[in-house]
C-alpha cells in the first residue's frame, strides 16, 4: 500500500469516522480505521458493529493494499500536519509510515484482515431521498426519543411509508413514553418500510452529521433490509443496524377528543415558559398552565427557591382549564414547529395535550403529544 492524499480530504474523512469508531471495547480493532486502497481511491472504514461507515476519498495511488491503525491517533496526527501532500506507505508488521513535509510518523497497526466486514447491500434497491427533507424530518422527531438505552425500542426513530387517504406519506415518529413527536411528508417514498423500521438514535445523529454539509438539492440513497439501513452518498456508505423491537401503536396514542383549542404566539409562549421554568423543581420541571379566555398563565413552584408566574396572550373561546406539563417537553415541542403560531388541543387536566402548527392539515403532517402531570 502506497498512496498520496490531500490533507484536507483525509482530515474530513477521518473526522467523520471519529464518532463511529468504538472507544471502549474489548475488541481493539474496533478502535481502528481500515484504509483500503484501490486504483484511484482510498476507502476509510470505521465501525462499532452498530454503525459502520465507508468513505471514498480521491487519492494518488502508487500501490493498492490495506492497513488498519488507531482512528483517534491517525486523526490527531493528520490534524496537526503543516502541508497538504500526505504520503502513506505500509511497512512490515502492519505498521504504516506517514510523511508530510519534514514530518515522519511511524504508526502501529493491526492485521487489516481482522477488520469486520460491513453488511452487503443491493445496489439497485436504493430509493433516492432529498437531503433537506430527511434532515427536517429527523430534527423534528429525534428529540422525543428516549435516551435510556435499556428501553431499546424507544431509543430510536420510526421510519414508515404509509398510504393515507390515497396519498403516499413518509412518516417519522419518536417517543419516550412521556411525549411523542410525529411528522409526515408527501411526495417522497422509501421502498421496503411499509411495516416501519426503527433507526437507533445514535444512527440518526450520525445521518444528520454526514448530511450536514451537503447541498440542499442533493439526494442520497436510502435502503433497508430486515436488519440494516443503508445510506449512500456518492461513493460513501453508512450502514446502521436497526432496532429489533416493536414500536408503540402511535395512532392509538393521538388524542381525538381534545376539543379545547387555543392559539398562541410560539416565540412568546416559549419565552414565557423559559422564564417560569427557572423556578420549576429541577427534578420534575413542571409548569402549570391556567388557560383563560384571552391568555395562558404559566406558573411554577420550587420548594427551595420560591415561585414564579407569567402570562402570554392567547386566542381561546372555551371554559377555563388548568393543566400541568413538563416545561422542557413543551419547549422542545415548540422548538420544532415552524409556524408563527401554534395550536394547543386540550381535553382536561388528566388527558394528554396536543401541539400542532397553526395551519393544521388532516391527517396531521406534524404533531407533538405530551402527557400531563400533577403540579
Amino acid at each position: 500500500m502506497d498512496f498520496e492524499i490531500e490533507k484536507r480530504d483525509f482530515l474530513k474523512g477521518l473526522s467523520l469516522i471519529q464518532s463511529i469508531t468504538a472507544r471502549k471495547t474489548t475488541l481493539p480493532i474496533l478502535t481502528h480505521v481500515l484504509m483500503e486502497v484501490d486504483s484511484d481511491s482510498l476507502f476509510l472504514v470505521g465501525t462499532d458493529l452498530e454503525i459502520g461507515i465507508r468513505e471514498a476519498l480521491p487519492a494518488k495511488v502508487h500501490e493498492g493494499g490495506k492497513a488498519s491503525v488507531s482512528a483517534k491517533k491517525l486523526y490527531e496526527v493528520v490534524r496537526e500536519l503543516s502541508e497538504e501532500k500526505v504520503h502513506i506507505q505500509k511497512k512490515e508488521n502492519h505498521w504504516i509510515t506517514l510523511r508530510c513535509g519534514k514530518s515522519v510518523f511511524n504508526i502501529a497497526g493491526l492485521d487489516p484482515e481482522e477488520f469486520p466486514a460491513l453488511p452487503t447491500y443491493q445496489e439497485e434497491s436504493f430509493s433516492q431521498v432529498s437531503v433537506p427533507l430527511l434532515l427536517e424530518m429527523i430534527e423534528k422527531t429525534v428529540f422525543a426519543a428516549t435516551n435510556e438505552e435499556s428501553r431499546y425500542h424507544l431509543n430510536g426513530v420510526l421510519f414508515l411509508q404509509k398510504k393515507e387517504a390515497g396519498r403516499e406519506i413518509l412518516k417519522m415518529v419518536a417517543t419516550d413514553g412521556h411525549r411523542l413527536s410525529l411528522i409526515g411528508r408527501e411526495g417522497q417514498t422509501i421502498q421496503g418500510i411499509e411495516k416501519g423500521v426503527i433507526i437507533p438514535k445514535k444512527g440518526v445523529t450520525e445521518i444528520k452529521k454526514i448530511l450536514a454539509d451537503k447541498e440542499p438539492e442533493e439526494r442520497v440513497g436510502l435502503y433497508f433490509d430486515p436488519t440494516h439501513g443503508f445510506l449512500k452518498i456518492g461513493k460513501s456508505l453508512m450502514v446502521i443496524r436497526l432496532i429489533d423491537g416493536e414500536f408503540p401503536d402511535y395512532e392509538q396514542v393521538i388524542p381525538k377528543q381534545n376539543d379545547k383549542r387555543l392559539t398562541v404566539d410560539k416565540e412568546k409562549f416559549y419565552a414565557c415558559l423559559r422564564r417560569v421554568s427557572t423556578m420549576a423543581s429541577e427534578r420534575v420541571e413542571g409548569v402549570k398552565l391556567s388557560i383563560k379566555p384571552e391568555s395562558i398563565e404559566c406558573s411554577s413552584y420550587n420548594q427551595d427557591f420560591g415561585d414564579a408566574r407569567d402570562e402570554v396572550e392567547a386566542t381561546y373561546g372555551g371554559p377555563s382549564v388548568e393543566i400541568g406539563f413538563n416545561s422542557r417537553y413543551l419547549m422542545e415541542a415548540l422548538n420544532v414547529i415552524d409556524t408563527e403560531e401554534v395550536v394547543l388541543h386540550l381535553k382536561d387536566e388528566g388527558s394528554p395535550g396536543l401541539i400542532r402548527p397553526s395551519s393544521p392539515v388532516e391527517p396531521p403532517d406534524q404533531l407533538c403529544i405530551i402527557m400531563p402531570m400533577r403540579i
Copy 2:
C-alpha cells in the same frame, strides 16, 4: 428594600458573582448574593471566604435595605427576563418579589445579617495600576502555577516589587516545581509587596475576568495587607485572601551557565512540537530535542501507537546536544512570548532549559525555565 434596576446592569453584576459564590458548602449563605441598597446604588456581594466581590450598580431606589437570595437562582431568573425594567421589593421572612413586565417571581431568602462581612481596607493605601499591564503579567505567568491545591504555596502567582540595578521593577512569578515563568516590568510600582505576596490561582483568574472588559487606558487600585489583596475598580471591590506560605527562591533556580544558545522561529517551533507531541506518551508528554548546527530535530515515541520526528530550522553554533522536555510545558512557554523568535539557553541533557524572547534585556524581563526529562 425597594428598588428598580436595568436588567442589563443587573445581569452583568450577577454574572461576575457566579464563579465566586460557593457551590458546595456547609454554609448555605455562601451560595447567596447579598443585595445592599443605599440611596442611589445597589451593591451586590458574593464570597466563598477565599475571594469576595462587592459591585456597585446604578439603581433607582425607593427604599434602602438588605436581602440575601441564591446567587445562582437569581442569575437564572434575571437571564430570562424579557424587559429592561426590573423591580425588586423585600417581603416578610427574608423573601423578595421580583417583577418585570408580566413576570412575577417570589424568591426565598436568608437573613442578610448572617452574610459574612468582607475584610476592611484603607482607602488611601491603593496603588494605581494599568489594566493592560496587570493583564499581561498575569497571563504570562499564571499558566505555570500548579493546579494541585495541596501544594498550596505553588498554587498561585508571586507578586513582588523589587529594586534591581537602581530600577523599580514589578515582578510576577509562578511555578509548579517542573517549570517556572517570570515577568518583570518597569514603571509601575505597587506599595507594600517588597517581600512578595502569593495570590491564589483562582483569585488571579477572577482578576483577569473582572478586568477583561475594561478599557486599555483604565487604571485599577491594588492594595495588599498582610492577609488580603484588594482590587478596586470604580465603586466595585474584589478581595482575595493571600496564600500564607513560602514561595521558592526563584532567583536561585534561574540557570546562569546555560551557554548553548540557539534562536528559533517561535511559530514554526510551536507547530513542530504540536505535530510531534501527538505521538508522545499521554502520561509524560515527552519530546526529545536534538540540537544540531542548523536545526532542532524533535522526536517522540509512544509504546502503543508508534513514533514521530520532525525538524525546524534554528540558528546555533555550538556542539550537538540532545535533551528531553515535556512538550506541553515547551508549548505553553512559547505561547506567552510575543517576539517572532525565541532563544533557548541550554547546558546539557541533565540541566534545566531556559526560554527567553529573542531580544533579551538584563536582568531578564521575561523567562521560562523548564526541567529536563529523560526520554
